[in-house]
Amino acid sequence: MAENEIELTRRCLGGDSSAFSGILEIYQDRVYSFALRLLKDPQAAEDAAQETFVKAFRGLSSYDPACPFAPWLFRIAHNAAMDALRARNKTVSMDAEDFSDLPDGAVPVEDGVGAALDAERIEALLASLPPLYSEVLLLQYREDMGPAEIARVINAPEGTVKNRLFRAREMMKAKMAADPELMQPFTGRGRIEGETVI
């Protein structure tokens, strides 16, 4: 956690509510983007992000300053997003049909394809996954959290997180293998440079 964040959280915990606007500024895009990628609806994502910050402010006394702030905040965001998904009657389940297209073992992707995943394509891939799986990928790679921190965010055992991460990656690979278009070279905005996969 950056020095500025530590200072802001310390001031908030000390009763200085104006310091919370600094925390809000630091995290609003991260929390909103996280909610948007799970809910796929800007208004619902904004509502979930707002709920996250309001609950975070009210629950600041339960935050342990010895622990990183981001997992604590993302846990509230996770709960808000899951509540929103449930309210929409979207299934947030671990049923087998959620990943019926997932083959066993590593997925071979067509050889010799110059690989590049631009932002739009990876967004599309993530959006095609059930929220439980896209969520762990986002937390690990975009928010740079380890399995232990993700476990705290989603309130699940670390083994479950690792399992979900594995399955999520396999699902991504399966979808990439099924749609070679995704692996075509792309020169647009958000391209990941320097990756040629053989």
Binding site: D29, A45, E46, A49, F53, V107, E110, L117, L137, L138
Partner: protein, 150 residues
Amino acid sequence: MNADNTEKLIAKAIAALPYSSPRAGFGARVMAAIEEQAAAETWLQRALKAGGVIVAAWSAGLSFLAARLIHANFGNIAAALIEPGGVSRAFSLLAAHGALILAKLAAAAPLIAGWALDAMPPYHEMTAAAILCAAAVAPLARIRTAADKN
């Protein structure tokens, strides 16, 4: 394609995803929502405090009335207590006086209930109850004082 490389590619692609921003004024809306909730909580706390004050006022009023009742009838009570079987007679005397006071208080209850049914805000209701409480206690205290003089 090598599976490890694919995983690295996925990881890099996700890590490079841009963050989206909420609509302009998001921060202000969040802070307004926080303030709104804080204001609602303040009202709740005030209402609870007002409730506590009213309960305390009623308790004090009833204790005061009980003390005056005993004081006003101290001679009768003392005499009754000295006589054989006087304890039960003293309690009966106190119970009769208490029942009279409760009947007067009960007469004010429909008025309070009528106001409550009009769906007044809780703090108005509590203020009204406090005024009624004072209005009920003061005349009763005066009655006992007049009885003392006689």
